[in-house]
Symmetry: C2
Amino acid sequence: MARVDQLASERSKAQFDVDEMKIVWAGSRHAFQISDRISRLVASDPAFRKDNRAMLGRKELFKNTLRKAAHAWKRIIELRLTDEEASRLRFYVDEPAFTDLHWGMFIPAIKGQGTDEQQQKWLPLAYKMQIIGCYAQTELGHGSNIQGLETTATFDPQTDEFIIHSPTLTSSKWWPGGLGKVSTHAVVYARLITDGKDYGVNGFIVQLRSLDDHSPLPGITVGDIGMKFGNGAYNTMDNGVLQFDHVRIPRDQMLMRVSQVTREGKFVQSNVPRQLVYGTMVYVRQTIVSDASCALSRAVCIATRYSAVRRQFGSNNDGVETQVIDYKTQQNRLFPLLASAYAFRFVGEWLKWLYTDVTQRLQANDFSTLPEAHACTAGLKSLTTSATADAIEECRKLCGGHGYLCSSGLPELFAVYVPACTYEGDNVVLLLQVARFLMKTVSQLGSGKKPVGTTAYMGRVEHLMQSRCDAQRAEDWLKPSVILEAFEARSARMSVACAQNLAKFANQEEGFAELSANLTEASVAHCQLIVVSKFIEKLQQDIPGKGVKEQLEILCNIYALSLLHKHQGDFLSTGSITSKQASLANDQLRSLYSQVRPNAVALVDAFNYTDHYLGSVLGRYDGNVYPKLYEEAWKDPLNDSVVPDGYHEYIRPLLKQQLRNARL
Amino acid sequence: MARVDQLASERSKAQFDVDEMKIVWAGSRHAFQISDRISRLVASDPAFRKDNRAMLGRKELFKNTLRKAAHAWKRIIELRLTDEEASRLRFYVDEPAFTDLHWGMFIPAIKGQGTDEQQQKWLPLAYKMQIIGCYAQTELGHGSNIQGLETTATFDPQTDEFIIHSPTLTSSKWWPGGLGKVSTHAVVYARLITDGKDYGVNGFIVQLRSLDDHSPLPGITVGDIGMKFGNGAYNTMDNGVLQFDHVRIPRDQMLMRVSQVTREGKFVQSNVPRQLVYGTMVYVRQTIVSDASCALSRAVCIATRYSAVRRQFGSNNDGVETQVIDYKTQQNRLFPLLASAYAFRFVGEWLKWLYTDVTQRLQANDFSTLPEAHACTAGLKSLTTSATADAIEECRKLCGGHGYLCSSGLPELFAVYVPACTYEGDNVVLLLQVARFLMKTVSQLGSGKKPVGTTAYMGRVEHLMQSRCDAQRAEDWLKPSVILEAFEARSARMSVACAQNLAKFANQEEGFAELSANLTEASVAHCQLIVVSKFIEKLQQDIPGKGVKEQLEILCNIYALSLLHKHQGDFLSTGSITSKQASLANDQLRSLYSQVRPNAVALVDAFNYTDHYLGSVLGRYDGNVYPKLYEEAWKDPLNDSVVPDGYHEYIRPLLKQQLRNARL
């Protein structure tokens, strides 16, 4: 049977080599090949089917996830997959599960905070999944502020044990994924108390459930915290609640790499630098940025393909309506998101490099770049996750009414993505951290201390405060140097203005609180500059493939100029550009949209997503949307019978005016 | 038992008379009393319980809605409620159901488009719910563009019947609420074909199901279109799919108020002006604006109360953490939304007046204000629904992690609200309609035709093009005249700039398409001006109650100045204000936040929502959040057993390394 491809004509319009773009997107030929192979492996295995997720009740849904997780592990063993391949497999299974926390938080916590002996004892068990662990930090009454945690771990020198206890309701551990129903162990964060003194929050390995029959151990109350946003989505995960009633653990289950408690109950700090913790944060946030580009590109892929399939209004001469992707309003909303997907991909790639660099420096006891790297990753985490959450919803709206159907894939993608704005640092709190770093950088400018890394441009602050943008024609806005200088000037000027306003306050903390809204705006400006500059740097590399670099240049310019338009107020109020220049930039942006239009479908094909991974009838590779939407509808349980359950009790008495006597 | 009120101290801070504010919010003492009584009636009736909605499977959920709808109707009859009271009751039941479409679309369509005889025949049946109807317009392949509909109604003069037919898959009716499982009848929109000629889209009353056993009539295929966004949410509604295979209906079931087909098959237009249709659109969109203020105020109520309960970081001297509502970043995000809730309430009230005015004029054959009223309501529908959808999600984020739990009420509120951005006119399409009207208004300025209603300010365009904002101190931004002139200048200048750019195009339609992004921005500016000016007008009325007017003035200024900051780029690029003035406005905004802070909780209390209607643990009136969150968690079906279903099949084999032989 000939395969339908309703998007064939779109694909034939592409002016670049899609296969080469796939390599660029994947990061390397090697990465592409693994992703390509593993994603097909998952897609072709009926055990990983996910299109029925929205219709399952909570219990069925959860059991189904347990099955998939076990099946995935079985396949990983059978096929002797490498760690990299195994991780890709879990990624393409595309269902939040306890394994995410086991591999992503429990094991790294032990590796990062455990002593060598502790690692030798616990890691082999965890690697084989003979124990399953989670990461129990947040509490019912305490989220971002780790110092506010209430759970206690009191040392009992008599028995050489810690007593883990939940003194209040609000101290109940709350949210940890994998905790509610699956984990046998947890890394629990609790206030260390020894000899009557509180030494702050430390990590402890605590067994929660019997390895024989999975029942909770004495003193442990554990359960699921209930339904979360969306159909399917994170309801496949057993985010949990946990209370301790004087649970005793051996002293050697405190994670002792950084701090120790001796047999006598003395608290001792090791000589391991505490900054190592920041190295881990750089790592985790780098993966979040990379996830942002995945989620965003999925949504953009769906919206782009369906915008090419869908027709509305404005019939041509042949009576066929216009493809909605041809409308400028659609392009104006969609193409900046397409550009953002690529931008976030490249900045994520760069963050991977940054992490390697920081790690190497830390090993050589060089902490000089750490604060900047920390601020930069915090800011990029905030920027990319906020933008991605908004973009997924925008893509849903760009699909019109049908985007509201679960079969579009977009509702679940949104619901499953949005927590990224809150976890691992609330996005606004993170922007304030960036702002603190920026204010410090500005305040040290006179001192001869040279700003490094992504704040290096602040070293040219005198120039940037008075530079004038020299764009005179729309085409001038295609020059990387013009774009870069405008973004640098805007960011530098906003930071300096904040610093000047701060200086008017007698109490710096009060000033910081009062000006926090402006400070977050300065942080956003700084972070957008980073993304723009890393995209531009990427384009200075050698990028093979017919037309590939040209397309990326177009996308880079769209990313920058759409931001410039959106934040026109910043650029104008700081005098970084003039109104006339803003208007020229906007003219240029419009003409870039026309250039990207014929390549749009090919540019989302380059993400190389299988229909399984996309999980969207609207985003199908073959564009055969309507027959499939129709087919999907009939699968709803409500269509099991043509006369609905409840007709006799609740509809018929209504129609027959017999309600008065009906029992409802 | 003493009732807990964790928010008592917040309430005691209020500087105004909350009871009087409740009247202002409700619109009148009469409206307040009805809302208050009916909302308590619903809240106290266990049959209307809704806190278990997220956990129900689709079939259970739907059946439960049928039960509630029948119960509601029973109560309406038993209590002999007036139409107004009945409508409030359905509102407070707060669950999308087939009755929404029956009362809100089916009956109005017959009233609006049916002849007197048709109304006499069908309305009594509908009023008693002896038949249940829906509104079948959109098709699988056709949404906003009504002219693109494919369903046909071909007149057969031999039998004096219309043959209703779905010629293609894409012509299947798709989306109509109440269609899938409940409706016995529908108003179906189809292309009228008689004597071989296509007379465009008309409405027809078609019976779909037998009144005896509810089975679909011959030639009719009907079903549900499947799961939609969110838990509970619109999944309580049977949005349906419908196909006709040559279904015959008597000629007199064509709605013939505006057009008729004679016994001979002749198409005749009546002398009823077609503009009447626009009157109906003004009505429907006015209700949508009013719904926007309801949805927004619910979200704001939840976020405000929980922001006062929740504490994070920055402990005071007493060791208690700071209430998050005291953070400027929180205020900066939350208070503009609080102000928007009030702003939308008042503009909705004004739209109600506008509808009455338009109706009276139409009855007197005065069509002069209709285009302006139509553009105005289209724009306000777009503005308020987009802002509300975004605001609900922002409120969810403002509640931190717990906002992601279904028990917060916010996920469902979001999912149930967002379709408002798409139905009754996609928001971007509507903005383009507004833009068309604005361009027409500008082009007629020289012709002596005076712009009316909300575009009256355009009549002072010469002044507005060169006026200078005279704000010199932050306090100047408290003057209504200063605010109004800045918003008028911005809007007029953006429209004029668009008109000038349009004039450069030889082909106006091409120009309109090319500049559509700018045109929608001009529309937004115009609509924001309307909301601001109606808020200001409201404050010129006599508003009794201690401190009530003062609070509303603060909110009005917050609404205007937060918009001014957000759209600074518009104000600066058009030269409507200077950078210095923008900065002063922002300073003023910050100080307004401090003024609203002590009144915030009381300002959301004034919405007078019951805990039942709010449906949020985080937004509870008594602020007793954490114990209730904890309690809710245990209700999840996953907590039925402490060892989860699936342990033996999928977890134990993993832990015991027996996966190789497991059947998964």
